[in-house]
C-alpha cells in the first residue's frame, strides 16, 4: 500500500451534502428497487431487443424496460415526441424531487456520451433508405445531448443553466465532481448533477467493433474476463452546501468529500498499462478530501471487464489501497457510459446507507496479476464509512469521487 501523508489535513472548505437522489437503471426504478436488486445480486443483462444485433459478436445489454417508461411518454403530446433518454431523465428527476421538493438548483451539471443518439440514427436511416422523413425535425431537435436534460428540467419547472459534460465514460463522475467543486468554491449552494445515457445502435456496434463488448458474461477483474456489456439509465443527485441543507432541515443522505480528475494521453481508447492515469485521479480525490487511503472502506471500480482497463485500474487500486473491498457493479447493470458514474455513485450511497458491499457477479477466478479483494458474486454486510467511485473513459479521461456516509 502506498504511504499517503494526508491523515490529518484540516479541510476548511464547505462540506457538500447529498440531499436527494433519483435513479433509473436496469436494476430498477428508484432507490428502493435498486437496493433490493443490488442486495440480491441481480444479473440484468438480456438479449438486445431495440435493434438488430445478429451481426454483432455481443448480443446482450442491460436495458431499462420500456413499459416502465410508458407513464412518462403518455403525459401529453409533447412528451410523446421526446427521446427515450428524456423519459429516463424525467423519471429520475421525479424521484429526486419527490424526496426533496424544496430543492431548487442554481445550476445543473449532467454527464452523457450520446444524448438522443437513436433519433440521429432514425433520421440517417430514413434518409439513406428514402423513407418517410416527416418526423425529421422532431428527431433533429431532440437529438442533442442537452435536450433530455432540458426536457427533465422543463417537466418540473426548473430553468437552471445546464452544463452537459461529455467526457466519454467518465462523464457522470466528472459531472458530480465538477458540481462538488462548484459548491465547495462557495460560488453555488445547490447543484443538480448526475448522468444519463440510453442504448443506441451506433454506440453498441461501436464497442462491438472494437471487440470491447463481450459475447459472454461480463466478469470484471476475473482471470477470464472478455469485455463489457452496454447498459443504460440515469441517476441524479441533489448536492447542497451542508450548512444550507441543515438550516432547512433537509435529509442528508451522505456527503461528497473528494474529487479527482486526470487525463491520460497514452492513447485515444487504451489506458496507460501502468495505471498512472487512474491512480492520479484517485490520489487527487483523496487529497481533495484530506483522506488517507486506509480510510476508504469500499471501491466501486470502473471495472468494465475489458482486459486492459481492469488491469490498469486493478494495478492502481492495489498499489494505492491494498486489499480494500472492490466490486464492479457493471457486472450486473452493464456499462451505462455517461450514466455509469452517476448510477455507481448512487450505488455507493446505498451501500453506505445500508452498510453492505455491492457484489461483483459472474466472478469465477481471480486474476493472478491483480492483488484485489473482489466482492465476489454476493453482497456482503460490512461497516463502511467512505466509498470511492471510479470512472474512466475514451480520450484518457479519469475521474474519482469519494462519498461519505451521513453522520448519525
Amino acid at each position: 500500500m502506498s504511504t499517503f501523508n494526508a491523515l490529518h489535513i484540516t479541510n476548511t472548505k464547505p462540506r457538500i451534502a447529498i440531499v436527494a437522489a433519483g435513479v433509473v437503471s436496469p436494476l430498477g426504478f428508484g432507490l428502493k428497487e435498486t437496493l433490493h436488486s443490488l442486495r440480491s445480486a441481480t444479473d440484468c443483462v438480456s438479449t438486445v431487443s431495440r435493434f438488430d444485433v445478429s451481426h454483432c459478436r455481443c448480443k446482450t445489454a442491460a436495458q431499462v424496460p420500456d413499459q416502465r417508461l410508458l407513464v412518462y411518454r403518455q403525459k401529453g403530446r409533447k412528451n410523446a415526441r421526446l427521446h427515450r433518454a428524456s423519459h429516463i431523465m424525467i423519471a429520475a428527476l421525479a424521484e429526486l424531487l419527490e424526496r426533496d421538493q424544496e430543492f431548487k438548483p442554481e445550476v445543473t451539471v449532467i454527464g452523457t456520451t450520446s444524448g438522443g443518439m437513436s433519433f440521429g440514427e432514425d433520421y440517417y436511416r430514413a434518409l439513406h433508405r428514402h423513407e418517410d422523413l416527416g418526423r425529421s425535425a422532431q428527431w433533429i431537435a431532440n437529438y442533442p445531448p442537452q435536450k433530455p436534460v432540458l426536457d427533465a428540467q422543463n417537466a418540473f419547472g426548473i430553468s437552471a443553466p445546464c452544463f452537459v459534460i461529455a467526457n466519454a465514460c467518465a462523464s457522470g463522475t466528472n459531472a458530480i465532481g465538477y458540481a462538488f467543486e462548484c459548491i465547495q468554491s462557495g460560488k453555488y449552494e445547490r447543484v443538480l448533477t448526475g448522468g444519463y445515457d440510453a442504448l443506441s445502435e451506433l454506440v453498441f456496434v461501436g464497442f462491438d467493433s472494437l471487440q470491447a463488448a463481450t459475447p459472454e458474461k461480463c466478469r470484471p477483474f476475473d482471470r477470464d474476463r472478455t469485455g463489457m456489456v452496454i447498459g443504460e439509465g440515469a441517476a441524479l443527485l441533489a448536492l447542497e452546501n451542508l450548512e444550507s441543507a441543515r438550516k432547512r432541515n433537509a435529509t442528508i443522505l451522505g456527503e461528497i468529500i473528494g474529487y479527482g480528475i486526470s487525463t491520460d494521453n497514452h492513447h485515444l481508447t487504451q489506458p496507460d498499462p501502468s495505471g498512472s492515469g487512474p491512480r492520479r485521479a484517485m490520489e487527487q480525490a483523496l487529497r481533495s478530501a484530506g483522506c488517507a487511503p486506509e480510510r476508504v472502506d469500499y471501491i466501486n471500480a470502473h471495472g468494465t471487464a475489458t482486459p486492459f482497463n481492469d488491469a490498469a485500474e486493478g494495478k492502481a487500486i492495489s498499489e494505492l489501497f491494498g486489499r480494500v473491498p472492490v466490486s464492479s457493479t457493471k457486472s450486473m447493470i452493464g456499462h451505462s457510459l455517461g450514466a455509469a458514474g452517476a448510477i455507481e455513485a448512487v450505488i455507493c450511497l446505498l451501500a453506505l446507507q445500508s452498510q453492505f458491499l455491492p457484489p461483483n457477479i459472474n466472478f469465477r477466478a481471480p486474476d493472478p496479476d491483480l492483488d484485489l479483494n473482489v466482492v465476489a458474486n454476493e453482497s456482503r454486510d460490512a461497516k463502511i464509512d467512505i466509498a470511492l467511485s471510479n470512472s474512466f473513459g475514451f480520450g484518457g479521461t479519469n475521474a474519482s469521487v469519494l462519498i461519505r456516509k451521513a453522520a448519525a
Binding site: D52, C162, N167, I261, N265
Partner: protein, 372 residues
C-alpha cells in the same frame, strides 16, 4: 481574482490567425460559400468552409493522422492561443493548465461514415478505427495529447451558447484554484448531413447572404472552424461578468431569456457582439437589446463568417476582445434597414466594455461582458 484573456487562436472560413481574420473582417470581407454535395440527385447546400491552406502549417502529430476536421481545427486554434500567450509569458505551467472544450455537433463526418457502414452493410462492417473519433471528447483528447495537458479536461456539449458556458466553466475553474490557466476551445465541422438536418429543422437558407435582424428571418448558412481563448490572470482584456443564462422551451420564449441576460450584463457604454444569424435568434436579440441597451452599437459576425454553432460564441468573444483592443468594429453587411439598432460606423460608440450575447438554436442562451 480577475480572469483575463492571455491568448487567442482562430480558424475560420476567412482563414487562420486572429490578426489575419480580424483584418479581413475590418476590410468588410465575407467568406465565400461553397457547395456541399452528398451525391447525385441529393439536394446540395451552401456552406462556409475553412480553406485547406489554413491548415498547411499545422505541426504534424501522431494524434492528427486520422483525426477529423474538427480535431484539426481545434488543434490549430489551441496551438495558436498557446503560442500567443507564451510569447508574452513563457512560464505557463502546463501541469496547471486545464482544458475546456465546447462543441455542439462534434465529429459529424466520421459519425456519418461510421453509421453509414452499419446501415449499408450491417454491423459487421463497422470500423473500429472510426468509432473512437465519433466520441464527443475525441478532439479534446487529441488536443490534450498535443499540448501535454494531463490534469482537468472537460468537453461540454450544448447549442450555440455552449462557448459561453465553456468560458463560465473555465473562469470558475480558475477562481476555484483548480488551475492557473484554462484553455477554452470551441470547434465545429460542416458536413452535408448537418446542412440537411438544419434545413429540415427550417433553420438554414439555400444561399448567402445571411440577412441579419430582419422582421422575417429567412435562415442562416452553416460554417466551420474553431476558436480558442486562454484564460489566466494576466492580459489586457478582463472578464467582467458571465451569465450562464437559462433555457427556453419554445422559441417565442427566447426573447425573455436573452432579455434577462442582458439586464444582468448591461452597461450603457458597452457595445454588443450578437449571435444574430438570420433566424428567430435575431428577433430575440433585437427586442432584448432595444429594451435593455438601446444605444449600444451592435455587431454580428455571422453574415461574414456564417453560423458555426458550437464554435460561434467563442468567435464572438474573440471579436469582442479584438474590438476592445483596437477600438474598432468591422462593418455590418446585409442588415435590415428597419432593425432599430445602432450598427458600427468607424470607431464611434466603441467603449471600454463589450457584451457578448449568445442565443442558441436549441433552447440555451448565455452571455458575458469583457472590459479593457
Amino acid at each position: 481574482m480577475s480572469v483575463r484573456i492571455a491568448g487567442m487562436g482562430w480558424i475560420t472560413p476567412l482563414g487562420r490567425g486572429v490578426d489575419y481574420v480580424w483584418n479581413r473582417l475590418l476590410r468588410g470581407d465575407e467568406a465565400s460559400a461553397q457547395t456541399i454535395s452528398r451525391n447525385e440527385g441529393a439536394r446540395a447546400y451552401q456552406g462556409f468552409l475553412v480553406p485547406n491552406e489554413a491548415l498547411n502549417n499545422l505541426p504534424p502529430h501522431p494524434r492528427l493522422r486520422r483525426a477529423s476536421a474538427i480535431s484539426r481545427f481545434a488543434a490549430a486554434a489551441g496551438l495558436d492561443a498557446m503560442a500567443q500567450a507564451k510569447a508574452m509569458d513563457p512560464k505557463i505551467e502546463m501541469e496547471r493548465l486545464a482544458l475546456v472544450f465546447a462543441v455542439s455537433n462534434g465529429g459529424v463526418a466520421y459519425t456519418k461514415r461510421f453509421y453509414h457502414d452499419i446501415v449499408e452493410s450491417g454491423a459487421q462492417s463497422a470500423s473500429p478505427l472510426l468509432f473512437p473519433e465519433t466520441v464527443f471528447n475525441a478532439p479534446a483528447s487529441h488536443l490534450a495529447a498535443i499540448l501535454g495537458v494531463n490534469g482537468a479536461s472537460y468537453t461540454i456539449v450544448g447549442d450555440g451558447a455552449v462557448g459561453i458556458l465553456g468560458m463560465k466553466m473555465a473562469s470558475d475553474l480558475l477562481e476555484m484554484g483548480a488551475a492557473n490557466h484554462c484553455l477554452v476551445v470551441a470547434a465545429e465541422e460542416a458536413d452535408w448531413l448537418l446542412c440537411d438536418a438544419y434545413h429540415r429543422w427550417r433553420l438554414i437558407k439555400s444561399s448567402p447572404p445571411i440577412e441579419l435582424f430582419s422582421n422575417h428571418p429567412r435562415g442562416t448558412i452553416l460554417s466551420e472552424g474553431a476558436g480558442a481563448v486562454l484564460l489566466g490572470r494576466e492580459g489586457s482584456v478582463k472578464m467582467d461578468s458571465i451569465n450562464a443564462g437559462g433555457n427556453f422551451s419554445q422559441r417565442r420564449n427566447s426573447t425573455g431569456v436573452v432579455n434577462r441576460i442582458l439586464q444582468d450584463l448591461r452597461d450603457q457604454t458597452a457595445f454588443v457582439v450578437a449571435s444574430a444569424n438570420g433566424t428567430f435568434v435575431d428577433l430575440a436579440e433585437r427586442d432584448a437589446i432595444r429594451k435593455q441597451i438601446p444605444n449600444s452599437i451592435v455587431y454580428s459576425p455571422k453574415a461574414a463568417l456564417g453560423e458555426s454553432v458550437g464554435a460561434s460564441a467563442l468567435w464572438q468573444v474573440i471579436i469582442a476582445a479584438r474590438a476592445l483592443a483596437g477600438k474598432q468594429l468591422p462593418p455590418m453587411r446585409h442588415v435590415a434597414g428597419n432593425a432599430g439598432l445602432r450598427f458600427p460606423a468607424g470607431t464611434n460608440g466603441i467603449g471600454l466594455s463589450a457584451i457578448v450575447s449568445s442565443c442558441g438554436l436549441n433552447q440555451q442562451a448565455a452571455g458575458l461582458r469583457l472590459s479593457i
